[in-house]
Amino acid sequence: MTTNRSAETTPDVASIRADFPILGTQVHDSPLVYLDNAATTQKPHHVIESLSTYYETYNANIHRGLHTLSEQATAEYESARDRIAAFINAKQSHEVIFTRGTTDAINLVARAWGDSNVASGDEIILTEIEHHSNLVPWQMLAHRRGAHLRFIPTDSEGHVDLVEYEKMLGKRTRIVAVTHMSNVLGVITPVAELIRIAHANGIPVLVDAAQSVPHMKVNVQELDADFVAFSGHKMLGPTGIGILYGKESLLNTMDPFIGGGSMIRVVELHESSWAGLPEKFEGGTPNIAGAIGLGAAVDYINQIGISNITAHEMSLTDYALQQLQDLDSVRIFGPPDTANRGGVISFAVGEIHPHDIGTLLDTDGVAVRAGHHCAQPLMRKLGVPATVRASFYLYNTTDEIDQLVASISRAKDFFDGA
């Protein structure tokens, strides 16, 4: 990037797009219209270059070599941690653990916290709209420990029932794990309120923030969240890197998840003692390049300004909801307006199967997700096998939404005309 942008100015989408090499790609002879950002986002030059710079100029292992390159790699890796900690307003950098992604982070908590805090007959509270990544690790924990999962009911738009939730909390409740924003319905859950109520009952809360941290200001101290998990690749960073934020007081009580190098203090033949935070949870050589790349992604987001990104996505979502609602054949799932939703819109087009829509849109260069979105229980609740999903980010434009709408109309004509 060569331009200087103040975090206070409205982002210029054209200049943002110029930072993303892939956005110039043609798909089936049409310009790529990338609307699958809830699955993964594209990467700016700045991030791609941070990876090649690491590999080309200071590639070394961290925290062990007494040589110059190792010191530089360690400094960059830890600097990325500091900037990510600042981005989510963690009180201390060592409360930010590098993981492989959201799934890995939640599994870490389900194992390292869950196995020593959840006993037979205990309860784990989730919602009905969770991604498999915030469901299956808890099912596995429940099976290991003989515990039970309970689900906060949600209405057809995905809003959680706070009254029922409060009634569900009891002396057997050990943890509440909830999504901050549904990857299917786009609905934003009232996590601050859910946390306040849980804490009034002495219960910790894990927030699956995979869909929120990339798109809106998430302040972990203000939320008072106990654990927050998110992925780098959904916020302009590389794949294979993610974050578990945990309160120091909780992380300190937990045993490691992965044993091996880097996470130990002293190793004897028959036992070992653990390193402090954050190394205790980062056994083995970590994804050094990935962490550095995620740090670069956070810098990029800060340069644009997260509030500007939120505002841009809200205006796109507002526009897309209106345009899609104008199509008679389209049925939108989730909230009908942007009051409590992010830039993720799931929909059905008449009786046409979502996979057929996905293929038809692809031939126009429009990339959307068609499938169950790793949320099979929610699909059953909605009564559909799958949905089509369009999801937006800072580089999308209203022109692209017009192309989405035109392509849906063409697909409808194609199927109805046959």
Partner: protein, 156 residues
């Protein structure tokens, strides 16, 4: 890679007007197939006579147009054929879809129309689901003593 190659008239016709749809109570092979990745499902009711002729093939299912057209096409292609010939039809279809082989139209009937799906690799499994399900049903039938069998196949 035109859309018309994927969704040819004959495919859309089978999708909109499926042949041999509905359960058959006198079938001696009932076999279900599912692709858990995308949720496509087919259930086949096959009636094989004592002299090894597929006298009837019926189906129910739900999923995308390719999976449902493919199963409709398949039931037409195999009805009235000896089991051994059905085996050759299955091999011909799988070779066309999975190995890119040129197919014999006389053998495949409308199945030849699914050739264009090869250009859409993520959709090939949609087309072969019902054929793999059929293969399992007939293979098990050959190995059993010919009595009533119920099976399920998971596409992987």
């Amino acid at each position: 890679m035109a859309l018309d190659d994927l969704y040819r008239d004959v495919i859309m016709d089978h999708y909109k007007r499926p042949r041999n749809q509905g359960a058959a109570s006198d079938a001696n092979i009932v076999v279900e197939g599912v692709n858990p990745l995308c949720g496509d499902e087919v259930k086949l009711w096959l009636t094989v006579s004592s002299d090894n002729i597929v006298t009837a093939a019926n189906f129910e299912g739900h999923g995308c147009s390719i999976s449902q057209a493919s199963v409709s096409i398949m039931t037409e292609a195999i009805t009235g054929k000896p089991v051994a010939e059905v085996g050759r039809i299955i091999s011909e279809f799988r070779a066309m879809m999975l190995d890119g082989a040129d197919a014999n139209e006389t053998l495949l009937g409308d199945g030849i129309a699914l050739e264009g799906v090869r250009d859409f690799p993520v959709r090939i499994k949609c087309a072969v689901l019902s054929w793999n399900t059929l293969k399992l049903g007939l293979d098990e039938h050959q190995e059993s003593s010919g009595g009533h069998i119920e099976l399920s196949h998971t596409e992987s």
